[in-house]
């Protein structure tokens, strides 16, 4: 067994995901199956392999893409963005209290 019920609860907490008791059991079983499957990567000797950290230009040999110019552009979208917010108190997003008195 790769993953316990406690592991699932810990991961759900890290991911800010509420799970029902049934979901905890279901995900434990399914994640266990998937994690067992991905163990096949352990068959490979990766001692001298560098991780692929960059995909862009991976095949072109060009590792120094040009940076764009640093120019100021207007971005006046605050009203539009706040209009779509679940609870806005301009110019802020309002959320439940974070800091106790």
């Amino acid at each position: 067994m790769k993953i316990s019920r406690g592991d699932v609860l810990r991961v759900a907490e890290l991911a800010h995901l509420g799970l029902s008791p049934d979901e905890v059991d279901k995900y434990r079983d399914q994640l266990d199956g998937i994690l067992t499957y991905v163990e096949k990567l352990n068959e490979l000797d990766l001692g001298k392999v560098e991780p692929m950290a960059q995909v862009l230009y991976a095949g072109s040999g060009d590792t120094h893409p040009e940076l764009r110019e640093d120019i100021l552009r207007p971005c006046d979208v605050a009203a539009l963005v706040l209009a779509d917010a679940p609870d806005a108190a301009k110019p802020f997003f309002r959320v439940p209290r974070v800091i106790e008195k």
Partner: protein, 481 residues
């Protein structure tokens, strides 16, 4: 009753220029078709007639003034619902964004708009593009127009079904591990995954940022190329957009395939491949040989590790990207007495089972003590898979494989076992991990009449070659091999 007109990009242009039809009439015709078929297919989640008719009227005004028309003038298109559209609801197939309306267009959408396309609406997809059957949409599955008891593939299932059913001339999809190519194969249309960085991701709602690509689906290769020519090219708004010169994708479509070296990797024709699919794709390769290609057997030794690699990297990136859905700034909010309780309740109610599963897997793979064992290891194997491709492209000009191990499966057939669903991505995730371009083109049918797809992959930034081979194949009768 005669069959409805099979409109193409060139056909729309000729009809507009010859004043046989107006862009407005054409849009109305497509909305009529959608009205008749979408109840069954569920391909569209949102229609955008206000914007479509405004776009059509602009084209009709240009025709009336005798102006030169832009490349996609009046062409009715559909846009996958993970791509941002200004003032048009964009749900990503998720309840968490059920009423989200983006304030801007994605770059690919903006370029389609400038090219004169008419936006019919937004297409259904697996939630946040996570799935291979379209059954993970919070708004119900899409049905395959060829066989309505079967899936259209996914995650761009709505886009593929809309094109296959004649409800749009072309569509935008997105491909992270096969999500354009596999539904293209299942619905019998052509679908192109561009090179990573070729089409801007600005405005694409992120799933796995090192793998996501926007690309076109259409009923034929020429239309696929026409849309690709419009949406591709460098964009300063996407730091992973490539500053590599753009060829004209449409000029080589009639060029013969003289002596092109076609690699056929043995690893893609082994266990798990449906015999009917195998037979047709081998017949497809034989057709390419008759067209002048040379067939070269290949070994791609790390193919068998691609699924494990992909599902670690994609879920790790997803767990990070989807952290933004917390009920604070947009989308669903479920109230809680504390901030963290609000996050947890919002995400519990807003996300569906597959998205939760992937967030869990990705969070686990990135968590303290497991990063080296999973994510770092997967990034190393990804380098080996990319090297398989680089080595292969020393010997061949393109690689040809089946797109998917089977034709479209039945609705509900694979939903109970997520790992089995993941394993059916075997032939598409490799190219995704390497970042190379690939297309799926129709390559015969099963005895039951289900479309089969053949995948053509080429080196980075060689979409032109992919389209050239696919076009020659199509013109030589590839869809009926």
């Amino acid at each position: 009753m005669s069959a409805p007109t099979a409109w193409t990009v060139a056909g729309v242009r000729a009809a507009l220029e010859g004043k046989k039809v107006s862009a407005r009439e054409l849009a109305a015709e497509f909305y009529g078709r959608i009205d008749r078929r979408n109840g069954q297919l569920n391909a569209f989640l949102t229609l955008s007639p206000e914007r479509a008719y405004a776009q059509a009227d602009r084209i009709d005004a240009a025709v009336a003034r005798g102006e030169a028309l832009p490349p996609l003038a009046g062409v009715p298109v559909a846009i996958k619902d993970v791509i941002s559209t200004r003032d048009i609801r964009t749900t990503c197939g998720s309840k968490i964004l059920e009423s989200y309306v983006p304030p801007y267009d994605a770059t690919a959408v903006e370029r389609l708009d400038r090219a004169g396309a008419v936006f019919l609406g937004k297409t259904n997809c697996d939630e946040f593009a996570m799935g291979g059957s379209n059954e993970n949409s919070a708004y119900g599955p899409v049905r395959n127009p060829v066989a309505p008891d079967r899936v259209p593939g996914g995650s761009s299932g709505g886009s593929a079904a809309a094109v296959a059913a004649g409800l749009a001339v072309a569509a935008l999809g997105t491909d992270t591990g096969g999500s354009i190519r596999q539904p293209g194969a299942y619905c019998g249309v052509s679908g192109l995954m561009p090179t990573y960085g070729r089409v801007s991701r600005y405005g694409l709602v992120a799933f796995a940022s090192s793998l996501d690509k926007i690309g076109p689906l259409a009923a034929n290769v020429a239309d696929t190329a026409a849309v690709m020519a419009v949406i591709a090219g460098h964009d300063a708004n996407d730091s992973t957009s490539a500053a590599v010169p753009m060829p004209d994708y449409t000029v080589n479509l009639d060029k013969p395939l003289d002596r092109l070296r076609i690699g056929v990797p043995e690893d893609y024709f082994g266990a798990g491949l449906d015999p009917e699919v195998k037979e047709k794709v081998q017949a497809g390769v034989a057709l390419l040989e008759r067209l002048g290609c040379r067939r070269i057997p290949l070994q791609m030794p790390h193919t068998d590790y691609a699924i494990a690699t992909y599902y670690i990297i994609a879920t790790a990136e997803a767990s990070s990207n989807l952290a933004r859905y917390d009920g604070v700034r947009y989308g669903l909010r479920v109230p809680g007495s504390t901030l963290v309780e609000m996050y947890r309740k919002t995400r519990e109610r807003g996300f569906g089972p597959e998205v939760k599963r992937r967030i869990m897997l990705g969070t686990y793979a990135l968590s303290a003590g497991y990063y080296d064992a999973y994510y770092l290891r997967a990034q190393k194997v990804r380098a080996l898979i990319a090297r398989d491709f680089a080595d292969a492209f020393q010997k061949v000009d393109a690689i040809v494989t089946p797109t998917s191990p089977t034709a479209a499966f039945r609705l509900g057939e694979k939903t109970s076992d997520p790992l089995q669903m993941y394993l059916s991505d075997i032939y598409t995730v490799t190219g995704s991990l390497a970042g190379v371009p690939g297309i799926s083109v129709p390559c015969g049918k099963t005895k039951a009449g289900l479309p089969i797809g053949m995948q053509i992959l080429a080196p980075h930034f060689n979409e032109g070659r992919v389209l050239q081979i696919a076009s020659a194949f199509e013109k030589a009768g590839g869809s009926g091999v």
